[in-house]
């Protein structure tokens, strides 16, 4: 069980710390688990690519200024096996996103949970409802 243990351990670390269990680099080196983000806006673009899928969303602040955030997901091979589809999120969707921000404080983050207006949710790794 040891190699799977390392994966399971990575998953547990991910769930406990908010840091993504990423395959090709250290999530802890990229994101700051203390910089929580909670965004609402309109999806402007989706990149269904490796090593990570990304989606971009326009977020308007209280002054009306619009910022375009770049939000990272797991890779398509992981997402597909866990119930995602390449069109699960698409340009024009209104969504709310919780996650964590990049260490460099740019408008770049890791999307932990995506919530749609009808209440259904997707998360970084899967299309399952996140554990409560």
């Amino acid at each position: 069980m040891r190699p799977l243990l390392s994966i399971a351990t990575a998953c547990m670390v991910w769930m406990a710390s908010g840091l993504p269990a990423l395959a090709h680099h250290s999530g802890a080196a990229e994101f700051d688990s203390h910089k929580k983000i909670d965004l609402s806006g309109v999806v402007t673009k989706v990149e269904w690519t490796n090593p990570h899928a990304h989606f971009y969303m326009d977020v308007k602040d209280s002054s009306g200024n619009v910022t375009n955030w770049n939000l990272e997901l797991a890779s398509p091979n992981v997402l597909i096996r866990n119930g995602w589809h390449r069109n699960s999120i698409k340009a024009g969707d209104m969504v709310s996103v919780t996650g964590i921000q990049a260490k460099d404080s740019s408008y770049y983050g890791n999307a932990s949970v995506i919530t749609f207006p009808d209440g259904h949710k997707l998360n970084f790794l899967s299309a399952d409802e996140p554990a409560k």
């Binding site: 069980m1 040891r2 190699p3 799977l4 243990l5 390392s6 994966i7 399971a8 351990t9 990575a10 998953c11 670390v13 991910w14 406990a16 710390s17 840091l19 993504p20 269990a21 990423l22 395959a23 090709h24 680099h25 250290s26 999530g27 802890a28 080196a29 990229e30 990149e47 690519t49 490796n50 090593p51 990570h52 990304h54 770049n70 990272e72 797991a74 890779s75 398509p76 091979n77 992981v78 597909i80 096996r81 866990n82 119930g83 990049a102 260490k103 460099d104 740019s106 770049y108 790794l125 899967s126 399952d128």
Partner: protein, 266 residues
């Protein structure tokens, strides 16, 4: 009359089959048919059963597997080593581990992981009488080839996966590899190696759905003594490999900060 006998035999056989079929669900109720394998949820699981063999009696390792030979976050973690094993670095190697940065990790740069570092992605063994191929979904979308009962070249070019020859010891596939370059890291922590690296992998399919993988790492250029990792792989019986081209959109690299460390910071 003969027809009646035949009908009776067929009916009896069908009855036996149906009886058996009726019993099957009760026998299998205790074992779920789907479950989580690594990162992947609701995956069909391999049923209980013995390790299969080819027609000539050779163990059959072919299939899509998930797992690997050691602890990918930190190869020196005792949880990824055989009991009693210890990783003892030479002083220069200790310095390297202290000074490496996450952004320098070849894996973060979409380069191969070498041996025995794995990934959370499945891989497939394709078995032929002369060659075994390991097809990696990620990271990266690459392959290894193992020459059965072959001989290492006298002066192999140093490469990421080295030159691998295989043979069977009972039910265990033993893969002997030399001719490595010194570029890949054993783990996220950055444990190094030299071109003197020599690995011996031992793959044993313990039942239909499971395989143990032990890897002896002998590199007198970087470690005071050889050590052996212990890992395991699980069959993903319904999975096919998917495409994973890491170089496609690797935005993360420019964002990585700080020392080399595991996925969750360990």
């Amino acid at each position: 009359m003969g027809k009646r006998v035949a009908t009776g035999v067929v009916s009896g056989a069908l009855l036996a089959v149906f009886s058996l079929a009726a019993q099957q669900p009760a026998q299998n109720d205790s074992k779920p048919k789907t479950g989580t394998i690594g990162l992947y949820r609701n995956q069909p699981l391999a049923p209980d059963g013995p390790a299969p063999k080819m027609a000539d009696g050779t163990p059959d390792l072919s299939g899509v597997w998930l797992g690997g030979g050691g602890n990918d976050a930190d190869i020196s973690n005792p949880r990824g080593l055989k009991p009693g094993e210890q990783v003892v670095m030479l002083p220069w190697a200790e310095d390297v581990v202290k000074n490496r940065l996450s952004k320098q990790d070849p894996e973060a740069n979409c380069l191969p992981t070498g041996i025995p570092r794995g990934s959370p992605y499945p891989w497939r063994i394709v078995q032929t009488p002369t060659h075994y191929f390991i097809l990696f979904e990620g990271n990266i979308h690459s392959f290894r080839q193992i020459f059965m009962n072959g001989k290492h070249p006298d002066d192999p070019d140093p490469t990421w996966y080295g030159n691998s020859i295989g043979h069977w010891e009972g039910n265990t596939l033993v893969v002997d590899t030399v001719g490595f370059n010194d570029k890949f890291w054993f783990d996220y922590k950055g444990h190094p190696h030299t071109e003197k690296l020599h690995t011996i992998e031992r793959y044993t399919r313990t039942d239909l759905g499971h395989m143990t993988i032990e890897v002896t790492i002998d590199d007198p250029g970087a470690y005071a003594k050889p050590f052996t990792t212990a890992g395991k792989a699980t069959l993903m019986p319904a999975a096919e490999l998917l495409e994973y081209i890491c170089q496609e959109n690797n935005q993360d690299l420019q964002k990585l900060e700080g020392p080399a460390r595991g996925p969750g910071g360990q």
